[in-house]
Amino acid sequence: MTHKRPVRHPGTVVAVLACLSLAACSAGSTSVGKSTGNGLTIGLTAEPATFDFTRTDGAAIPQALLDNVYETLVKLDQSGKIRPDLATSWSLSKDRRTYTFHLVQNATFSNGARFTAEDAKFSIERVNSAWTVAQKAQMSVVDGVRAVSPTELEVTLKKPSNDWLYRMTTRVGAMFSRTGVRELATEPVGTGPYVVRNWNRGDSITLARRKGYWGRTPHFASVTLKYFKDPTAMNNALLTGTINVIGQMQSPESLYRFQNNSKYKVIEGTTNGEVVLSLNNGSGPMKNPRARRAVRYAIDHKALVDTCWAGHGKPIGSMVPPTDPWYQNLTDLYPYDRDKARRLLEESGESGRTLRLRIPALPYATACGTVVKSQLEQAGFTVKLDQLEFPAAWLTTVFKNSDYDLSIISHVEPRDMQTVFGDKSYYTHYDNPEFRALLRKADQGSQEQQIASMRAAARLLSKDAAADWLFLLPNLMVADADITGLPVNSVSESLDLTGLGRS
């Protein structure tokens, strides 16, 4: 959650908007929210444009609706493991192509309809038929869906895919009612514990607990998601009691205002948001591997994180967050070495060229851009910094037209190595058949094979200097001290409200 506004026109899966999940947690006693009466108000940054994530991209909609209004068959726990949700259990056939899900019996949609295997079949098939967003590709591996009984669903894949089950925890796995998809943009109908009660466009969304939810009743009767474009405003809102939780701290520099104050609690964990210094592997000076490596040696990651994100944020060295099973620390592949960078730059023959560092006008990008420019210049590069309005101008110039040499963007989609580097037409234009083969192998193999292959792929990617990974955005949350159930790590696309409580 790093971007100010939701993306409404992304291409493929650039989930440029961050999302966070408040996963598991414990419940507490009932108390009264400061501003919303019997409820809780959470400050967030990116407001959805519509409620229809089947046709509108961006992380803002699943952040608000997934797990709260819509539910999935399976969902992630805090450690990144896949757990039952609407499916009580599932099994995988020997050829690793057929999943059989056993569904809960008593789930209903908020329009009153019962949730059955037919709805699950309808939802999965609808991804391929009616969705327009880029994520729909993740469902293309499905060969056929069969409702064996009202509580048993069978999904056959065209080829084995470890990734598919994981994607079923994300928005493409959301379960829709066969009779509730007419007004998706304004009236979402799901099986979740909350319904949308009020949407004050440009300001806030209020979710209300619904009666008849099949699972455990969440603590808060209503939760308001309030959207702030300005990080300082969000901090002030918490300080003056307008909100109870800062869902994602956008100005870590001002954490000190909450840290030594018993009225507040600060939570710091990881997210899926890799802040990437993207390099244009396809053309220009960054096509040259030596020049790319020079860039990587020139960046002093420690100093960078200290300066632009107040020391919060983990250096990662490749496209894998620590919550993924195949995470490994690859930061020592390119330790900071200015002289080496200078030498490599000389050798590359690109030293005379001006690099265009074109960043979106977002807090972290602006802050990092200033530092990156300064560090690169100290290593002998010539850098011109352009700030592009986000999302429209950045998406057009950098993402669509690839009219850039370097950029800085946080890729917040979970498990997005494939998306960002597995397609040579993507804006990074990284083109390595060996890398793609490793990813394929990981998808189709056993769990051990998957982990090994993914590790190899991540290492290859980093070695090739396909990009530089500046740091992993921390999951920084600040809340009133009595709020419980806040997740340490943000592992999924949703902001799961069901576990929150008040002590």
């Binding site: 100010k4 506004r5 409404r8 026109h9 992304p10 291409g11 493929t12 501003s35 444009a49 519509t50 509108t56 991209d57 327009t132 967003v133 880029a134 943009a185 304004t186 004050n200 466009r201 440009g202 300001d203 309030k226 702030f228 474009k229 300005d230 405003a233 002030n236 809102a237 300080l239 003056t240 009691g241 307008t242 309005e389 986000f390 999302p391 429209a392 998406l395 057009t396 993402f399 669509k400």
Partner: protein
């Protein structure tokens, strides 16, 4: 008088027509196809074509213009390219918020500027007048958003008297509404007051030098009453002019203030729509602001007729 009125209405309508053409033309030359922008970079050409048809973008420009104008005139401006939501209710909501803000800001500005400016004029040679005058110069030099940030720092974060930001409609919670309105309205109002004060001072100084004010005193009116009875109405003409011009500034100044105080008004809508290239909304918001400015100018013309009999015609 009637002739004047008809003339002014004609000018207003002509101005509205021309500015609508300008706004439309400006948006038409914007690089990028709204449909493609709306659908994102990976959309297929057929999907874009379908959306273009849905929005009516495949029609000739003149037809597009006419249907846009029809939408505005009938208060049915269609749907957003991005959110597909109807724009009309949203515009109405946002406009209401901004009007509260601007209206209150203007009232504060007037409440401060009219007496202070008059006082500065009456005492323009005395120390108190000079101090006020210097203060107003400083006030003019402070950006409104800086005033807002300072207010928040002191009264919300520091003293905890008021919420730092946010907006609640008055019918939902009148007390909270007022609490949240105070600081944004003040930051708009105070800076505005500094500007208006200087004009009031000049206008009153001019009036103070007028012969008829001396006549009024020769009649036996004390200076203050002479100024109140005979001066203010005459000073009102330039002041009303300035207030009208400043209203445009205030309307746009609220863009920044809405950002500082997280207020879902017209300004936030404009900024969001610009960032998302929701061009039809940008077009509508810009047109609403232009309309507001033109309308206020028209009303000011009407006010002149009320204030100054010389403009009503029929005299020599």
């Amino acid at each position: 008088m009637i002739v004047r009125l008809v003339q002014r209405i004609a000018i207003l309508l002509a101005s509205l027509a021309v500015s609508s053409v300008l706004v439309f033309a400006f948006m038409a030359v914007l690089p990028g196809d709204p449909a493609r922008v709306a659908l994102g970079t990976s959309a297929s050409d057929s999907a874009v074509a379908q959306l273009r048809q849905e929005f009516g973008l495949d029609r000739p420009l003149v037809a597009q213009y006419l249907s846009w104008v029809r939408g505005l005139v009938t208060f049915a401006p269609g749907n957003s390219y991005i959110s597909h939501a109807p724009i009309g209710p949203q515009l109405a909501d946002r406009l209401q918020v901004t009007l509260w803000l601007v209206g209150t800001g203007m009232v504060i500005a007037c409440l401060l500027a009219l007496p202070l400016g008059t006082l500065m004029a009456v005492r323009h040679r005395k120390p108190s007048g000079l101090v006020l005058s210097a203060l107003s110069q400083v006030g003019v030099a402070i950006p409104a958003f800086l005033a807002g940030i300072l207010l928040i720092t002191v009264f919300a974060v520091g003293l905890g008297w008021l919420p730092a930001n946010g907006w609640t409609p008055p019918d939902q919670d009148p007390v909270l509404f007022l609490k949240q309105l105070v600081m944004p309205a003040l930051s708009l109002g105070i800076v505005q007051a500094a500007v208006v004060t200087r004009y009031v001072r000049s206008a009153v100084l001019d009036v103070l030098r007028e012969d008829y004010l001396r006549t009024a005193r020769a009649k036996g009116l004390r200076p203050t009453r002479a100024l109140l009875r005979h001066g203010l109405r005459n000073a009102a003409v330039p002041v009303v002019t300035v207030l009208a011009l400043q209203l445009a500034t205030l309307l746009v100044g609220s863009v920044v203030i809405e950002r500082v105080f997280v207020i879902p008004g017209l300004g936030s809508l404009l900024l969001d729509s610009v960032a998302n290239r929701d061009l039809i909304v940008v077009q509508d918001v810009v047109m609403i602001i232009a309309m507001a400015v033109l309308l206020v100018n028209f009303l000011v013309d009407m006010v002149y007729l009320l204030i100054d009999p010389r403009l009503r015609g029929g005299g020599s």
